[in-house]
Symmetry: C2
Subunit: 209 residues, 2 copies
């Protein structure tokens, strides 16, 4: 049995959608960022980094979206969420997800999480102002170059798709004009109609229990 | 045949060491950051992100250190560089590498690459000042919690080890006191003695051809 620790509106949505796509049996547990639950001892026992997602398994706890996504793909091979029998194609999937994790998500994080890197208030404000440019340039590269269509990796839907969908949720709040990225926008629209996405978003939005 | 595009002193060293550990046949090609070769058209054809490493293969080009490391491990299974038959253990390896890529390397990058996120000169200086704290807190977590010993993942050497070694090369320049992290320091010392590491470092330091 799996339990996904998540917070609505975070990158945990990618793993949540992937679990739905995989047909996994799992539970979800909400982590309350408003009360800083992620920085308190009980949650730090689960993820000492104080972040979401964390996936509790019978074997132990996994963190980091790219690792969790690949784990889901490998654990539910019948769902065909990654090219598991082709090391090169699998590496292409992983490279795209690493870019989302280490460059795109990081660019976005400078809007709300500047304190990770500085305690200078003026610098934190400057980082916020930089987000439309830095996030915009990431999505320009995705739209023009990395995205193959109709899915991220081409004909085959993969664990890249829920991850891109998740990060593309943030574009408006990041001050990026989505109209500049028609392929990402079309992908986001099609993703939002998938049953797995509808279910994951509805579960995120349900009252906390 | 593989060709690794690298620049001395960058995270490309991790992939370079892994290729040596795997016994791979490969060539290396130096990218000259001093002349900004990474931002010029010929190199952008190889990696449109303008970064190293890039691994040219017969199938196409791979980027992103965690993806390249897993590709090497999967392509050379006899080298036992990752637990390929155990999705959970493989995900633990990937989670550690994702942390190095998206949190540790990113913290370090605020010393030299602040311009990625802001063009405000005072903010760029503030980001530099924040590096000892942010990088230091990452290595504190690694030293106390994530690192199992004697290798990152415990008894088995893996693709986590060259990556941690590579990032731990930067600690002094980042203003972090290594004495606070005895396990990382011991790991770095033992890694530096491995034949694969000696060979990769010697090749990086050889005159450019």
């Amino acid at each position: 049995m799996l339990t996904l620790y998540f917070t609505p509106g975070t990158c945990a949505l990618a793993s949540h959608i992937a679990l739905e796509e995989a047909g996994a049996e799992y539970a979800i547990r909400r982590v309350n960022f408003a009360s800083e639950e992620q920085r308190q001892a009980p949650y730090l026992e689960i993820n000492p980094k104080g972040r979401v997602p964390a996936l509790v398994t019978d074997r132990g706890i996994l963190t980091e979206t790219p690792a969790i996504l690949a784990f889901i793909a490998q654990s539910y091979p019948a769902a065909h969420l990654a090219p598991l029998d082709d090391a090169f194609a699998f590496a292409e999937v992983q490279a795209f997800n690493a870019y989302l994790c280490a460059t795109v998500h990081v660019a976005h994080a400078h809007r709300m999480r500047g304190r990770r890197w500085t305690d200078d208030e003026a610098a934190i404000e400057a980082l916020k102002r930089g987000v439309p440019r830095s996030v915009g340039s990431c999505f320009a590269l995705i739209d023009t170059t990395l995205f193959r269509g109709p899915w991220v990796m081409g004909e085959a839907y993969s664990i890249c798709d829920p991850y891109l969908f998740t990060l593309s949720q943030w574009l408006e709040a990041d001050g990026v004009d989505l109209a500049a990225f028609p392929r990402v926008l079309d992908h986001r629209t099609r993703m939002a109609e998938r049953a797995a996405v509808v279910r994951a978003l509805a579960a995120e939005r349900a009252p906390a229990t």
